[in-house]
């Protein structure tokens, strides 16, 4: 028994040591291959490059530039896929009803108090990730997933009842999500509409000005690059992902009483 413990401790310490060695070595020698494909090189070169204003997206974070600018349409479809998966959960549990006043208890005072302090900080952090998606690693999806942590915390610590008390209903969340999806589409077609009014060429999902179209989203706000539509997409994506994951969490933690009808419906079909 003791021999095994010593072996486990030794191997764990070896793991930590080797990982820290790799991190330390990274500063001195090359670990990955130095060859970057020409496509990757062009992304790195143009994603923030004010001297080539026809190619750049004014986003310091290259991942955000690729996701929302170079392949914006693809990401938009990904967002709708998330919506579709929530609808799939709805169809599985059809017939459920949300009941208030079931007198939940929740966990002890200690956990509740500690969670109470953490929740506003999580909100601030999630919004920091989302609004700085064009400057630092992060973005709308990451921010939304972080924000959804508060719903899971509330469900675990205070119980689902508290979410109802705060005004969360799955139907309302669906409406918010739909509105944000419409907001995404509006941001995407705004350059097209402006181009239509000014009678010039413009594209759907256009961010900065191109060679044959001078229409451009705002590239700077105050003293930091805003990256035009990337910022707006990130904010809408934050709300979409937050409401989506919260709906999923709420539906998965429904109580027995609320699911009674859903079970009856299933029995009829069986």
């Amino acid at each position: 028994m003791i021999k095994r413990d010593v072996l486990v401790a030794f191997s764990l310490s070896l793991l930590v040591l080797s990982i820290s060695l790799i991190i330390w070595l990274e500063g001195y020698i090359r670990i990955a291959t130095p060859i970057i494909s020409s496509l990757g090189e062009s992304y790195l070169y143009y994603s923030y490059n004010p001297w080539y204003s026809n190619y750049t997206s004014f986003s310091l974070n290259v991942v955000s530039a690729i996701i929302w600018d170079y392949r914006g349409f693809d990401t938009f479809l990904e967002t709708t896929v998330l919506m579709a998966s929530i609808i799939a959960i709805y169809t599985l549990l059809r017939g459920f009803e949300e009941k208030v006043f079931l007198q939940p208890k929740g966990l002890s005072t200690i956990t509740k108090t500690a969670t109470k302090i953490v929740i506003p900080l999580i909100i601030a952090y999630a919004l920091a990730i989302a609004t700085h998606g064009q400057l630092t690693p992060g973005g709308g999806f990451q921010g939304g997933a972080t924000l959804a942590v508060i719903s899971s915390l509330i469900i675990a610590v205070y119980s689902l009842e508290f979410l109802y008390y705060m005004g969360y209903r799955s139907k309302r969340l669906v409406v918010i999500r739909g509105l944000c999806l419409i907001g995404l589409i509006i941001v995407a077609i705004t350059p097209l509409l402006i181009g239509f009014i000014l009678n010039t060429k413009s594209y759907i999902f256009q961010n900065m000005s191109k060679e044959d179209s001078f229409i451009s989203m705002p590239s700077f706000l105050f003293d930091a690059p805003l990256a035009g539509s990337i910022f707006f997409y990130n904010v809408f994506e934050l709300l979409i992902v937050f409401t989506g994951l919260t709906t999923a969490l709420m539906l998965l933690s429904l109580r027995d009483v609320e699911l009674k009808k859903a079970f009856e419906v299933r029995e009829v079909y069986e």
């Binding site: 002890s108 005072t109 200690i110 109470k116 929740i119 506003p120 920091a128 609004t131 003293d223 930091a224």
Partner: protein, 166 residues
């Protein structure tokens, strides 16, 4: 404005946290941070700080520093005791003892419970708010008398916590 100091207190903490987590000090960060912390303050201020703060309460921060110093001392002491148990096979007497507490506020109870859990050798298992008892698992229970156990485990923390949270 009602409870202005409460709002300012919560607002400042969230804004500082926002700036630290973004790691930038540009106007862009500041403007968005002010908006975000104003909204979260409006939503959560009443639930976070229940009693109305006064300017005099700033002095209580000094007790918080005193608490940290006391906590570090207790932590080192508990670690040494545990090291003795592990290395020299000192006999142990694990037991769950009920310890009364006399702190009123939620934050005070939470702080004491988390500190006791954080010091090695003692863990708060459950808390009973009606009879004001903490159920603490103690690795070396020298006494089963609730009041004597309170003197050994929590009374030192409790004195300082009462001064901080009242």
């Amino acid at each position: 404005m009602k409870r202005f100091l409460n709002k300012l207190f919560v607002f400042t903490i969230i804004l500082v946290f926002f700036i630290i987590s973004t790691g930038s000090f540009k106007y862009y960060t500041l403007v968005i941070g002010v908006i975000v912390s104003a909204i979260t303050t409006y939503l959560f201020e009443s639930s976070i700080v229940k009693k109305t703060l006064r300017l005099y309460d700033v002095l209580k921060l000094l007790y918080l520093f005193k608490y940290i110093v006391y906590f570090v001392k207790a932590e080192i002491h508990a670690h040494l005791e545990l090291v003795e148990i592990i290395l020299f096979n000192k006999p142990i007497k694990p037991a769950i003892v009920a310890v009364p507490y006399h702190v009123e506020s939620d934050y005070g109870v939470t702080l004491i419970a988390l500190t006791v859990t954080n010091t090695p050798g003692t863990i708060v298992l459950n808390i009973d708010t009606n009879s004001k008892l903490m159920y603490i698992h103690w690795i070396n229970a020298s006494t089963f008398n609730p009041d004597e156990a309170r003197l050994i485990i929590t009374s030192g923390f409790e004195k300082l916590v009462e001064k901080i949270f009242g």
